[in-house]
Symmetry: C2
Subunit: 493 residues, 2 copies
């Protein structure tokens, strides 16, 4: 669910220059039609979008296979929805970036549609539509492509893929802990450690109760959502600016309260040398609060329950997880726990994924029934950047590998070569055949090399006429190996 | 490459009613905003698009896994391109349906873009862009989602997925035969037989030479393309209407020539009781021609070469393949062999996939270098409909399967249950945990049933305090089986 982070979609990956400086895209593209006059077409994809050549596609498939593997291991079921939805599905108040940057347009029959900015609204629509045939709880996952539109596209992507895992029908934090565990399972699968990545969490109920109980304010639901979205910008803006916007947009909040709020939520950053691992930050945070009822209330009970569940005698992932009240997340529908996994590598301190609890989303779509839900979105760009930086992408995935490559002696041997390659494929061996005119032996070897063939199989008259034999050359063995070259019957291949 | 057939994207699948009668979509949708006034949002996806619930998604994943498996076995490499491209990439003359029905729109910076109607133009763009780093021949595949827009959406889909395989850099029909073999490999993998499916092929060069050599006409390239696209409609229109349009749009063609042309190309249908299997239709067709130079020319040499390559001593797929001069295909860029696989099942005689040779596509994009290429597009809708009809979709894919399901005795046993489920997942077993309050045993069993668990593992005080043991219930064994229920240490699970 949700966009994994505001940073996520704009991650510019080092081996992808598509999204490089193209702020003048429209002007540039206008010249494009010149190819009709004899010049070549503009071969670049639309700014902010990516092509995937086979080596890049293998990398993507490798990452996605880890998403699938983790999801299935945890009992999440796959689902999908159209990339195009009605714009109304995404319209929300509160000034969310994701809504402001929607890739929406009017289609020919005048419908206002959008390329989905995130998956959660489609998921909610699916569940609402199929409510009667679905049994709760349900755990679903998907890897949708999500879009956004900005006028200034300087180095920012307009699309990314985003692994989404969601749990519906579980009101307790057992849901969030199961999500945490899935994320950390994936990190481990990718070779990451708790030194490189931290999952930080808090609860929207903390800021809600801070305002209500500590500061005695009564905000409407909309104003509360707006407050969260403003406070979420703390990471990217000066405290002074956040305070200004807060006081301006939410008049109920005074300058003094705004400052106190920001200071409380940001206390970890104000004490950068303190050890706040595990639940230490929770203790320190509670000490700063004055209202006993709040301190001993249900919000902190939930957070303590999380620490019990993720501890050594539970999921055993507490090394990866920190309480951090500065986590608020920039989506308006969150109602409880919110979280974000963050890379702690120098030069790459970026949000990798994020999510939270959204118990009231069905209500916003007009449903009388509310279903408790939580989930996360995990983009493909930042994680690949991190894995590249840490050299954790296995080199074997970068190039093609084929078991056998069949080369006919000349065009008259093509049918027999086809027969042999078919025989090999039926045996389950990945196999290719030289399709060009085999006159040039050098060219066929160059091709064998390109496709990463293990064996080259020559079909020539002298061997073939001697009992349907072929010459086999092992391309990955040393030149002087005795098994480097053998002649055998094709049915023994 | 190419759309697999004009029919393909509009296949309405029996278990999917999304695309049902919604011609009045816009009007209907206008009422949608009422949900803001308290009613529920319209839960339907946009007309002609599909949601995929887990059972439908598993079916799609199963089909796609066969596409991937076949592609990899044959040495095709994966690639991808953005679903959104510049509209200019698709604009072509000739009245192609695919161009007329483009899902195009103006985006915010005034660029004319389109949701891709087909993959071939993106592939050509990729190859043009990366020409210097690519070594030919290359064999690439992809499973893109393709879109189209029609104002009358009665029962027709606007999106489908389409398996694309393309071979670039091979000028000879060895390329086409490799494609045929991949398609038929997939058919076999899906459990289809040559009685249910036929691959029909011809060559655009036949109609080209018919016009030029038999009828002595000199058509421009554009007029020739237009002729092909009109003749392609023979299947859906009366011969008389095709003749009319042909004479009107291509004045060089007289009524007499048009009639002769249609009769020649349609001769198989005019003789429905004749046996035209294998190369018999080729012999019969040649007998109808008068010009010896044409009959003995390179076009028919190529077709004969195909029959040699696919024969018993080659790919051995000739039972599946027929020569059929009525195959022309509705895309303007084809230059040589064109083909279509067709279901021959009563009530389901529909095009499953289609493709051909397009040696001059780079030229249409302004490139000086031309690269010979051929490929096919194979949609997901028609094939799934056929497989459903023939009951060839294995039933095991329709529901979830999980190895283990861990149930805590009460909330105090949740951390231990989390520890056990983590242990099982680390062992590679798909495992789920009951996340709701375990008070109601019935509800947890209902959930175990829903997720298709093989074992239920109960974590309760009596067993756990006796050396960390758990009770295991085998959910798929008979009630009286001795192994139905055991109590073991959790590390022996």
């Amino acid at each position: 669910m949700s966009e994994s982070s505001n940073n996520n979609i704009n991650a510019s990956s080092p081996n992808n220059n598509n999204a490089s400086d193209k702020s003048n895209e429209a002007g540039k593209r206008k010249q494009q039609s010149k190819f009709k006059g004899g010049n070549t077409i503009d071969v670049e994809p639309i700014a902010g979008t990516r092509d995937f050549l086979p080596n890049e596609m293998r990398e993507r498939e490798w990452l996605f296979s880890k998403f699938h593997e983790t999801s299935k291991l945890f009992g999440f079921e796959p689902y999908d929805a159209p990339i195009l939805e009605m714009e109304d599905l995404y319209k929300r108040k509160g000034g969310e970036e994701i809504v402001q940057q929607m890739y929406n347009f009017k289609e020919k029959s005048d419908l206002n549609v959008a390329l989905r900015p995130e998956m959660t609204p489609s998921l909610a629509r699916l569940i609402l539509k199929n409510r009667k045939i679905l049994t709760l709880p349900l755990k679903w996952y998907s890897i949708p492509q999500c879009w956004r539109y900005e006028t200034t596209t300087r180095g920012r992507k307009r699309e990314h893929y985003q692994w989404n895992c969601d749990i519906w029908g579980v009101p307790e934090v057992t849901g969030e802990c199961e999500l945490f565990s899935a994320i950390i399972h994936l990190f481990k699968l990718l070779g990451l450690t708790s030194e490189k990545v931290t999952l930080r969490f808090s609860s929207r109920k903390i800021i809600e109760d801070l305002l209500k109980v500590e500061f005695g304010l009564q905000l409407s639901e909309d104003k509360f959502k707006e407050t969260c979205i403003i406070v979420d910008k703390m990471d990217k803006m000066e405290a002074e600016d956040v305070k200004k916007i807060l006081v301006e947009k939410v008049p109920e909040i005074s300058e003094e309260v705004a400052l106190k709020l920001i200071k409380l939520m940001n206390f970890k950053k104000l004490n950068p040398n303190e050890d706040y691992s595990g639940s230490k930050a929770l203790t320190a945070f509670k000490e700063m609060l004055t209202n006993e009822e709040f301190k001993n209330g249900p919000v902190f009970k939930e957070i303590e329950e999380i620490f019990t569940l993720i501890g050594k005698n539970g999921y055993d992932i507490e090394d990866w997880i920190e309480f951090d009240p500065s986590i608020v997340r920039g989506l308006s529908y969150y109602t409880g726990v919110v979280f974000e996994a963050f890379a702690t590598i120098e030069g790459l301190s970026r949000a990798i994924c994020g999510g939270g609890r959204y118990d009231k989303i069905l209500g916003t779509y007009g449903s009388k029934e509310q279903i408790p839900a939580c989930g996360f979105g995990f983009g493909d760009c930042v994680i690949l950047e991190i894995l590249r930086e840490l050299k954790l992408i296995p080199s074997y995935i970068s190039s093609q590998k084929v078991d056998d490559f069949v080369i006919p002696f000349d065009t008259s041997f093509r049918p027999i070569a086809a027969k042999i390659v078919t025989y090999l494929r039926q045996k389950g061996r990945t196999a290719d055949i030289y399709l060009k005119n085999p006159k040039k032996v050098g060219a066929s070897f160059e091709y064998a090399d390109k496709i990463g063939a293990t064996r080259a199989i020559f079909v020539a008259p002298s061997e073939w006429n001697d009992g349907e034999k072929v010459k086999v050359k092992m391309l990955r063995e040393k030149e002087d190996s005795a098994t480097k070259e053998v002649t055998i019957k094709y049915t023994e291949l």
